[in-house]
């Protein structure tokens, strides 16, 4: 207590002195007629401190670029993955090696087999007239054309072939491509650019998917071959959309789907297209030369005038028994592709003998329309014959030359389904000499439809071939699928 009091006194005295010193002279200071009080000085100091702090740059840790030594260390440490994944034991595709032409009957390992694995719909493989025209072409022009279409790779047979196909279909012009699958994935990016809208079926095959991806447009898929789903998708996309003049809009469908054998109902698609103002791109690889009274394709089959379909593409590796592809439509459509289609401009042209084979094939079809009736009756026969196969059901259309059999009850995984189907196909070949194949899927394929066994019917098959295939398939699937049914 005694010691505290002097300290307290001293502190009070000091404070009094400070405040007096503080207040006294300044209390009487008058600057420009404004009384300056003591507290104004404190506030002034605070403002000065704030301004000083604000004006200083905030502290950022300096960005030091990596030194050469550090980059060297990183490069040494980095380990790449192997270029390809290690070989899996079960993935073993060992295709049969054919020793003769892939016609309705072919030779595998010295044995003659009935061939249901080639899309030789009109039976033109081995046709005399086709081979003669090819021989003539080979002797005159050699094998390859040695150049792209723009630079002396255009041979007069190409122009003849284009004119022939356009004439056959009733369109103004057509354009030839040098490879079947490159047709559709060059045509789609030539017309569809970034910002356009494409409505496509979800069951389209890989080449169409690749074309849609390369086009960078907005792609909307609708349920496989479901017109109600297509109508609702189109409605959703166009409702409230005022910018119709600037956006190009396309519907992409296949006539006969490779992944399921279904046929697209073209008359309903054309009605929808006209209502919502979309252009149609129709992929006719498996229906050209097959559907329609004279083989002119899906449009003839449904009685739709050909000029209602904007772009038709097809690969010639099926009914026409040659290779390459074509695209046809209005003159504007065809002309546009001559400069903007990557697969046409930047690639060597179709070998001339294949173009002359195409011309003879179309001539043959025009002169012998009865071959279509043969094909149709074969397809009907196979359909009825396979309708009661144990464990498998036909999921393709009755008129489709691709007869698609899928498992009645799937095992749940794609790989095991495929294993079962391939076992069936192998045994059918080994025991009964009937060559059929299970449809295979690439890892890049986004299609979700089930896998199955595909039989490609040809007009060259006889009734005995078909009944042999039916009985063999029924027997083998009964034994293989007995524990899975």
């Amino acid at each position: 207590m005694d010691m505290a009091l002097p300290i307290v006194n001293a502190t009070t005295a000091a404070l009094a002195r400070v405040s007096a010193a503080f207040n006294a002279p300044l209390a009487r200071a008058v600057v420009f007629g404004v009384h300056i009080d003591g507290h104004l000085v404190v506030e002034g100091l605070l403002i000065a401190v704030i301004v000083f702090q604000l004006s200083r740059k905030s502290y950022k840790p300096p960005k030091k670029p990596l030194s050469e030594k550090e980059v060297d260390e990183l490069c040494d440490e980095w380990e790449p993955e192997p270029l390809c994944p290690p070989v899996k034991e079960r993935s073993h595709i060992d295709p049969a090696i054919l020793e003769s032409a892939a016609g309705p009957h072919t030779t595998i390992e010295g044995k003659e087999v009935v061939n249901f694995a080639s899309a030789n719909y009109l039976g033109l493989i081995g046709n005399e007239k086709l081979i003669d025209s090819c021989v003539g072409s080979l002797e005159k022009y050699g094998v390859g054309s040695c150049g792209p279409r723009g630079f002396y790779g255009t041979i007069d047979v190409h122009l003849d072939c284009e004119a022939k196909i356009a004439n056959f279909l009733g369109t103004p012009d057509s354009i030839l491509y040098s490879y079947g699958i490159s047709t559709i994935f060059s045509v789609i990016p030539a017309f569809c650019k970034k910002g356009d809208i494409i409505v496509a079926d979800e069951g389209v095959h890989w080449a169409v998917q690749n074309g849609l991806y390369l086009s960078r447009s907005t792609v909307v898929y609708f349920k496989h071959n479901d017109m109600a789903s297509l109508a609702s998708t189109l409605e959703k996309l166009t409702r409230g959309n005022k910018r119709t003049e600037k956006i190009r809009r396309y519907i992409v469908v296949e006539s006969i789907y490779q992944n399921s054998g279904q046929i697209a109902p073209l008359d309903e698609i054309v009605k929808l297209k006209e209502k919502y103002l979309f252009r149609v791109i129709l992929e006719e690889s498996h229906s050209f030369g097959v559907l329609g009274k004279s083989g002119r394709g899906l449009a003839e089959h449904y009685g739709v005038p050909i000029d209602k379909i904007d772009i038709i593409t097809a690969g010639m590796g099926n009914a026409l028994a040659t290779d390459g592809g074509f695209c046809t439509g209005s003159a504007r459509v065809v002309d546009h592709q001559r400069l903007s289609s990557a697969g046409y401009v930047f690639s060597a042209s179709l070998p001339p003998y294949l173009a002359s084979a195409a011309v003879s094939a179309v001539n043959y079809l025009e002169e012998n329309p009865s071959v279509l009736a043969n094909l149709r009756s074969n397809v009907a026969l196979l359909h009825t014959g396979l309708s009661d196969t144990p464990g498998l059901e036909i999921s393709s259309h009755v008129l489709s030359p691709i007869v698609f059999l899928k498992l009645k009850k799937s095992t749940g995984s794609l790989a095991t389904d495929l294993d079962l189907l391939e076992t069936i196909a192998e045994q059918v070949l080994k025991e009964d000499s009937v060559f059929i194949v299970a449809s295979k899927r690439s890892t890049l394929d986004r299609c979700k439809l089930p896998v199955g066994i595909r039989l490609f019917v040809s007009a060259g098959h006889t009734e005995s071939d078909i009944s042999k295939a039916c009985s063999s398939l029924k027997r083998i699937s009964a034994s293989v699928l007995s524990d899975h049914v």
């Binding site: 790449p80 040695c146 007069d156 490879y179 095959h205 690749n210 060559f435």
Partner: protein, 380 residues
């Protein structure tokens, strides 16, 4: 030394540049002028595609309509014979100012310096053509089926072994078209999380394949190993964009001979850089296979690079072998993987058997296995 010459790739003289740009400017101005009047005159006309957006909007096809059409007769000239050393070019005439061209029956014989016929196999050949015709009669023009289904013939397996032997790799796989080879293979080898470093002047099939794969693409200056090294160092150290995770793998894509410039690739140095940084190499020998090298085995032979060092060698049969199609040669594991995964192998029609036979015969001639010395003597 001629004044203003373009030796060493120097920029053209100012007068040349000015006159060229002036000509272009004139053509552009005229084109716009005519478009303007065309729009006024056509405003009243209606086409039956009312409501649809036009196929080409605005100036997308300006170049085609106003510039290209004027000189259209220089391109796409049809020929009426094989693209051999001398060939017949069909004459065309136009009635409507070059908008459409009609063929005439007249042809003119010209010296051919425009076709890719490096070894002269384009026309009928004494060794190749009889065998091709024989295979045509045996296997027909097409198999109508994919390789994995019913399109695999003895010829295809024979050619794959022959190509692998010719190029110097363990195994090979065939495709029916060179363009599809590149654009369908690259997405299988590399995907998202990988890096593709490609030469700035690569062909569009490689560009399309790289784009379709989903990997990040970086470009290095044409034939410049130093810049390639810089790019690789920067990318490996930086990692993937935004996440900076390390790259899964890096593929460097170069071509043997660049078709637009006619230059050879600087292969030994580029290979050294790739080896140092553990990047995989992809060599596109579309123009060089069969055409360069002492025995025609391509740039590797010419520049002394061991084929075992290059991870993937791609080539086409269109140029030197007078046929069509392409191939990929690599190790057995890679080819096995491609055969199971590549969509072009699983879905596309297999190569036409006569074309396969043409390549087999051509390679045999080049190797000297046909019994003659045409290949060895260099006078094919």
């Amino acid at each position: 030394r001629v004044e203003g010459s373009e030796e060493d790739g120097e920029a053209p003289v100012p007068v040349t540049a000015l006159t060229t740009l002036f000509s272009y400017g004139l053509l552009f101005a005229f084109g716009h002028f005519r478009d303007f009047f065309r729009r006024i005159l056509d405003a009243g006309k209606s086409s039956n595609l009312k409501g649809y957006a036009p196929i080409c909007l605005g100036y997308e096809d300006f170049y085609t309509r106003r510039l290209y059409l004027r000189i259209q007769d220089c391109f796409g000239r049809p020929i009426a014979s094989a693209p051999d050393a001398w060939f017949d070019v069909v004459e065309r005439h136009s009635n409507d100012g070059n908008k459409t061209l009609q063929r005439t029956t007249k042809t003119s014989k010209c010296l051919n310096l425009g076709s890719y016929n490096y070894l002269g196999f384009a026309a009928a050949d004494e060794y190749c053509t009889p065998r091709v015709i024989e295979s045509l009669k045996k296997y027909s023009a097409s198999t109508c089926s994919a390789r994995v289904d019913g399109g695999n013939t003895k010829l295809h397996t024979e050619l794959e072994e022959l190509v692998a032997r010719f190029v110097g790799k363990p195994a090979a796989i065939l495709f029916g078209m060179g363009y599809v080879t590149n654009s369908a293979i690259i997405p299988i080898l590399i995907g998202k999380g990988g890096l593709i470093v490609s030469d700035s002047l690569n062909h569009i099939s490689i560009v399309n394949g790289a784009r379709g794969s989903g990997a990040t693409v970086r470009v290095f200056q044409h034939n410049n190993p130093a810049h390639l090294e810089d790019v690789l160092r920067e990318q490996i150290a930086g990692g993937q964009p935004r996440t900076h995770r390390p790259w899964k793998k890096i593929i460097v894509i170069v071509e043997g001979i660049y078709s637009m410039e006619g230059e050879l690739c600087n292969l030994p140095e580029i290979m050294a850089v790739c080896k140092k940084y553990k990047a995989y190499t992809y060599l596109d020998e579309a123009h060089s296979i069969g055409a360069v090298g002492k025995t025609g085995r391509g740039v590797c032979e010419l520049l002394g690079v061991d084929p075992a060092d290059v991870d993937i060698m791609m080539g086409t049969f269109t140029k030197s072998f007078g046929s069509c199609g392409g191939y990929i040669a690599a190790s057995k594991e890679i080819i096995h993987h491609l055969k199971h995964a590549c969509p072009a192998h699983i879905y596309a029609t297999s190569m036409s058997p006569p074309a396969v036979q043409q390549v087999i015969s051509a390679i045999k001639v080049v190797l000297g296995e046909d019994g003659s010395n045409r290949g060895i003597s260099g006078r094919i």
